[in-house]
Symmetry: C2
Subunit: 212 residues, 2 copies
């Protein structure tokens, strides 16, 4: 077996299981069982369960941030004077998300579920790690969104940004179950790409709607 293969198998199984059940509900025995590697291999390669969690996030966030940055570069270059619209920024996020899932072989649902977990499961070590490693890209993104919505106060902008993030993360991370409900109740199937397209104008309107 090629070296590094064990590491990759552990990371894959951990991503799948963490996204499905959360961190505390997923034991190392379940992970190593699914990955078909020895239990002790996790601590051998990663040191601890905490560090495994961080490694899983690295594998997801690094390609995403890379793609997001180059998408933002492209859009900045293309639209010179008239500035970048919020719709364009959202589409940067969408395609960065899709491209990064191609890279890692993970689904969009899984990636956004992991992102949601980072918010909702209060793992302080994880929050610190993510802010430290990927805070810069986030700041850049937030700055561009703010430029696209002039005239909003700091407070109003900030909260509207979180409304947008909440809508996106919540919907995408629960996509499978929401799709299943819609399918069984109304017999209508929806593709992920379709929902991401539906989402763009809705997210944009959150930011652009007139002030209260």
């Amino acid at each position: 077996m090629a070296p590094g293969d064990t590491v990759e198998k552990i990371l894959h199984a951990a991503s799948v299981l963490f996204a499905e059940r959360g961190f505390a509900e997923t034991s190392l025995r379940t992970i190593t069982g699914m990955a078909d590697v020895n239990l002790a291999a996790v601590n051998y390669h990663f040191g601890s369960k905490k560090e495994l969690i961080q490694a899983v996030f690295s594998r997801v966030l690094q390609p995403f941030c890379k793609h997001l940055n180059s998408e933002l570069d492209a859009v900045l270059e293309k639209s010179g004077e008239q500035g970048v619209s919020i719709e364009q920024i959202i589409e940067c996020c969408s395609s960065a998300l899709l491209k990064s899932t191609e890279d890692s072989g993970m689904s969009v649902q899984r990636v956004t579920r992991l992102l949601g977990l980072a918010y909702t499961q209060s793992q302080e070590h994880l929050r610190q790690y993510i802010v430290g490693a990927y805070g810069e890209t986030y700041e850049r993104f937030a700055g561009m969104v703010q430029k696209a919505a002039p005239g909003l106060s700091m407070v109003e902008f900030y909260w509207r940004l979180y409304f947008m993030l909440g809508a996106a993360v919540f919907t995408l991370s629960s996509f499978d179950s929401l799709r299943a409900i819609l399918n069984s109740d109304y017999g209508h199937d929806t593709e992920l790409e379709q929902v991401m397209q539906l989402m763009t104008p809705s997210l944009a309107s959150i930011l652009n709607v007139a002030k209260e």
Copy 2:
């Protein structure tokens, strides 16, 4: 000590701790320690940890649904022919949420965190219990929202409703940490009621924005 007091102390401690850390991360020993009751009292009064989780949700959802129903009644009666607007429905939810937290002595953040957990922590027994006990109120709410946004296809309505729920649940349940970040980065404090007011037009715009 008055009878029923132990039950109430357990429910209170469990609500606080579940909302803070999730279900798996909260042990019965932590709960009974905080509530200052005997460890075995949980299984004596509730039967199991699962049933305790359900009881916590009952204590939260029952008053919320009660208030939401009467708010919806009031608004239906008031606005006869011209129909009920989406803003009115959102405000029904807001005040039902505020009133129900007064009842139970729990914060809005805690209630929405619990609601978010019900979605994100895949506790199948809990999802079934909630749908069985409170699905009717949800159907009524969803039906009224749909009437307030005529012209949308089933698919488009359905997904926009989830964008709205996501934005609301995500923001309110993370309110404390978002508020803290805004405070430390820009020195500006925001009250919960203020955010709920900011949220109304943004949520309404998700539903009302023109079709793609």
